[in-house]
């Protein structure tokens, strides 16, 4: 027991723990986190198994990292207790505990340059006489500095405790909604169950990758099912619902009115529970809103185009046109297609489905991809189905000025030209509950105060020894280098002797 106590009190252990934490944190940024097991084996063929078995694929929740945090917490507690003893000794009865030998050992000290003035005792807060009849006088300043180290370590402990509480009891998830949506928010226990289910599922996936018959998998499956059913029942009877009333994006504009990027994205929402409906509140980036057990943060947004207007021309010579009875004079026609929703116009023998829409497409590595949410270079992919449900042809729609491309990628008797698209917004709100946060903030405050007290408030002890033969010795100690006290020592000498002359060096 004594040895364990010694280990935790030792500064060497604390430094070693900090060094291990530093190394593990560094590894955590170098090894990609939270990938699937197979990905680690593929990327790191020689050490992939080691990464997974040590849990370094989820470093900051891994057993080695968590153990280090716990040990550091215990070491910090031990440090606080030890510090308290020494701080208490300095704060209380400092003069009584001092000895002539100790005072004479201070680097900033010397004999006074002239006889002491008559009323020198009035300059000291306290004076005592030791067993050899030496008078010892003491003045202290900046006592608060002594509490700096304590405050700093208590702060660190609270931050660690808050972090651990948050890690075990906190939840974080994202809710998404478009204008008009009413999204249920499950109670805290249900969201915690979903979080735990995700964690177990991840571990199970890793186990299954290497040993599909592992007996632990069945138990894990049962646990996951049980947790999922808690989450589902939570969604069935939610804590409250969020009504997404309005979502909008503001853009920066150049003086000539062109867009210069996103200025802000915003949601106006209402919180509705069984007995109460809140007033509409605006959630913005850096401006969160709290309701119930959760706080909501505007963390992302998505702009998509659900409805697209297209002009349709009949192309007589296209491959699929031969058998169709279509009045060519009835064209052009205009159609409005919704993403992935079939639509059959009266003039068409086919049912059209807009399978994909890209507002700003590029061809990268022979693939069509969208590089932004803006309608800079739109492209829509339309698939035609005949009455039997078989694919009759595919076509790409582009704006008028790029229609020359469409001929190369269309296998339908129709040519589609993009006219317009109506943007719709989806809001992504981070939803969080962290009961450890108050502790963390108090910890940060104490840590900051501790640093200010330790590093910026000088603690000073001014000593005077008056021997029975009348000789006097002064010294200054504190938490600053002795060189800094040289001027103070000179000033103390002047104050006690009324001698303005430069004193001889010690």
């Amino acid at each position: 027991m004594r040895t364990i106590h010694k280990i935790f009190v030792s500064l060497k252990s604390a430094v070693i723990l900090i060094a291990i934490l530093t190394a593990l944190a560094t590894l955590g940024t170098l090894v990609p986190q939270n990938l699937d097991a197979v990905e680690y084996i593929r990327r790191f063929p020689s050490i992939g198994h080691l990464i997974l078995s040590l849990g370094f694929d989820d470093m900051y929740r891994s057993a080695p990292f968590q153990t280090c945090l716990w040990l550091l917490s215990i070491s910090t507690i031990a440090c606080i207790i030890t510090r308290w003893k020494s701080t208490y000794r300095k704060l209380s009865a400092r003069l009584e505990r001092a000895s002539v030998k100790e005072i004479k050992a201070y680097e900033a000290g010397r004999h006074v340059s002239a006889p002491l003035k008559q009323d020198w005792q009035s300059d000291f807060a306290a004076v005592i006489t030791d067993e050899n009849d030496v008078l010892i006088g003491l003045n202290t300043s900046g006592k608060v500095s002594l509490l700096g180290g304590m405050s700093l370590h208590i702060g660190l402990l609270l931050v660690l405790a808050g972090g651990l509480i948050g890690g075990y009891l906190g939840v974080e998830t994202v809710v998404r909604g478009s204008k008009g949506d009413l999204v249920p928010v499950a109670p805290l226990e249900a969201v915690r169950a979903a979080r735990d289910a995700d964690r177990i599922a991840r571990v199970a996936r890793n186990i299954r990758e290497f040993s599909p018959e592992d007996p632990r998998l069945d138990k894990m499956r049962e646990e996951i099912d049980a947790l999922h059913s808690i989450y589902k029942s939570g969604l069935a009877s939610p804590a409250f619902k969020i009504a997404f009333d309005e979502l909008w994006v503001e853009n920066y504009q150049t003086p000539d009115g062109r867009g210069m990027g996103v200025k802000s994205w915003n949601s106006r929402v209402r919180f509705i529970d069984q007995s109460h409906e809140s007033e509409p509140v605006q959630v913005m980036v850096n401006q969160p809103v709290s309701y119930g057990d959760y706080t909501f943060y505007q963390s992302s947004w998505n702009k998509f185009y659900h409805k697209v207007s297209l002009q349709v021309e009949f192309v007589g010579d296209a491959s699929a046109s031969s058998q169709l009875a279509i009045k060519a004079g009835a064209f052009p026609q205009t159609v409005e297609l919704k993403l992935k929703e079939p639509y059959k116009p009266a003039w068409s023998p086919y049912e059209f489905v807009m399978m994909d829409f890209m507002p700003d497409f590029r061809i990268i590595n022979d693939r069509f991809v969208s590089v932004s949410h803006e309608l800079n270079n739109p492209a829509a992919m339309i698939v035609a189905y005949d009455s039997s449900g078989a694919v009759a042809g595919r076509a790409w729609a582009f704006p008028q000025d790029r229609m020359s491309m469409a001929g190369h990628v269309t296998s339908m008797p129709f040519q589609f030209t993009f006219i317009s698209a109506e943007p719709e917004y989806e809001s992504g709100m981070q939803m969080a509950h962290d009961p450890g946060k108050p502790l963390v903030w108090v910890g940060c405050l104490l840590f900051t105060l501790g640093m200010i007290m330790s590093f910026y408030v000088p603690y000073r002890e001014s000593w005077l020894l008056v021997y029975p033969d009348g000789k006097a010795y002064i010294a200054i100690s504190g938490n600053r280098p002795a060189k800094i006290f040289a001027d103070d020592l000179q000033q103390l000498d002047r104050q006690l002797t009324n001698n303005d002359k430069e004193p001889p060096t010690a």
């Binding site: 060497k12 955590g28 974080e172 280098p481």
Partner: protein, 348 residues
């Protein structure tokens, strides 16, 4: 007036100040010190004016991208160096801070300097507090780094000049490693950066600026300096004895710089960062690479303070820790932005 021109003027001042400090040390001309300091102050004031002009034209503090961050840090390093030496002239440190500012500005010039409006996540007063305070802390770490380098340089010169030097073999090896290794590390990391940028379409031509504006001149200068130092080591030793404080005082100065920088970095870089992250992303800590490396920086300097204050370590090994701390700080600034993607990637 275009702020780029003013930054240019400021760089010229730093170069002149560096030449002035070098001449003051090598030619032993006392009367060159104050004019060099005056020129360095002129450079700092010009850079501050340029930063204010940029702030005014952009509508936000110049801390929102890599270019702005580096010119601000460059200015902070020069300013902190001058304030740090206001009561105790240290021409070698002052010359070092001039070099640090010039190099930082040289690297900044590779990145796009056009003013862009702030993305939503950066529109917060926490941007001012978090980044600026962290940069003041980092500037003080830079001062500690230069002092640590000078400490090792002093040890190397002492051990080379005195046959029966008290410096033991391991310490001597560590000092040599620092003195020769740091320029090599700098050149290697800049080469890596140039190689990375050359593969990015947006930096197609700019990376050459890094090669010809930073890597080549630094390589030539360092080689020349090392050669001259070796050839005239007797004279250099005398200069070091005269213009550098003794090893003990240097060690105390390193501690002083770290003791000032550590609380500022912790409050600005970590605590204000946590408060802002909590407001913007809904959690105060997410193990994002930038956050994690800021924590690693904090931990390395915490080890420095623990071993120095509680275990009484000082000298070469704490100087090496201070150097390690600054290397981690620089990795947090550059390496994380370019090598590891995360939530803070916008600043690259």
């Amino acid at each position: 007036m275009n702020e780029t021109l003013i930054f240019g003027f400021s760089m010229v001042c730093y170069i002149l100040a560096f030449v002035g400090f070098s001449a003051h040390i090598s030619l032993n001309r006392e009367n060159l010190y104050m004019p060099s300091r005056g020129i360095a102050w002129a450079g700092v004031i010009a850079a501050l004016v340029a930063l204010i002009l940029r702030w005014q034209s952009a509508g936000h503090p110049p801390l929102s991208n890599m270019y702005e961050s580096l010119v601000t840090l460059s200015t902070f390093i020069a300013l902190t160096g001058l304030i740090f030496t206001r009561n105790q002239p240290l021409p070698m440190l002052e010359a070092g801070t001039c070099v640090g500012s010039i190099l930082m500005f040289g690297v900044a010039s590779v990145f796009a300097s056009d003013v862009k409006p702030l993305i939503p996540a950066l529109q917060s007063y926490w941007l001012h507090l978090h980044v600026s305070l962290a940069f003041v802390g980092e500037a003080l770490f830079a001062i500690a780094f230069i002092l640590s380098y000078l400490y090792c340089f002093r040890k190397v010169m002492t051990s080379a000049a005195e046959k029966n030097s008290s410096v033991d073999f391991l310490e001597k090896a560590a000092c040599y490693l620092v003195v020769v290794g740091m320029p090599v590390v700098f050149i290697l990391s800049m080469t890596l950066l140039a190689s990375y940028l050359s593969q990015q379409p947006s930096y197609s031509e700019r990376w050459m600026g890094l090669v010809w504006g930073v890597i080549a001149p630094v390589s030539v200068t360092m080689l020349l300096l090392m050669l001259l130092t070796w050839m005239y080591r007797g004279a250099v030793h005398k200069g070091v004895e005269k213009w550098l404080p003794d090893a003990d005082s240097l060690d105390k100065l390193i501690y002083r710089a770290i003791a000032l920088g550590y609380p500022l970095f912790t409050v600005g870089g970590l605590i204000f960062g946590m408060v802002w992250a909590n407001k913007a992303w809904g959690r105060y800590w997410g193990w994002d690479p930038k956050e994690t490396w800021a924590l690693i920086t904090f931990l390395v300097y915490s080890i420095y303070l623990h071993v120095r204050l509680a275990r009484g370590w000082n000298g070469t090994w704490t100087a090496c820790l201070s150097i390690a701390g600054f290397l981690v700080t620089m990795f947090t600034l550059f390496g994380v932005n370019f090598l590891i993607s995360g939530l803070h990637s916008y600043i690259g």
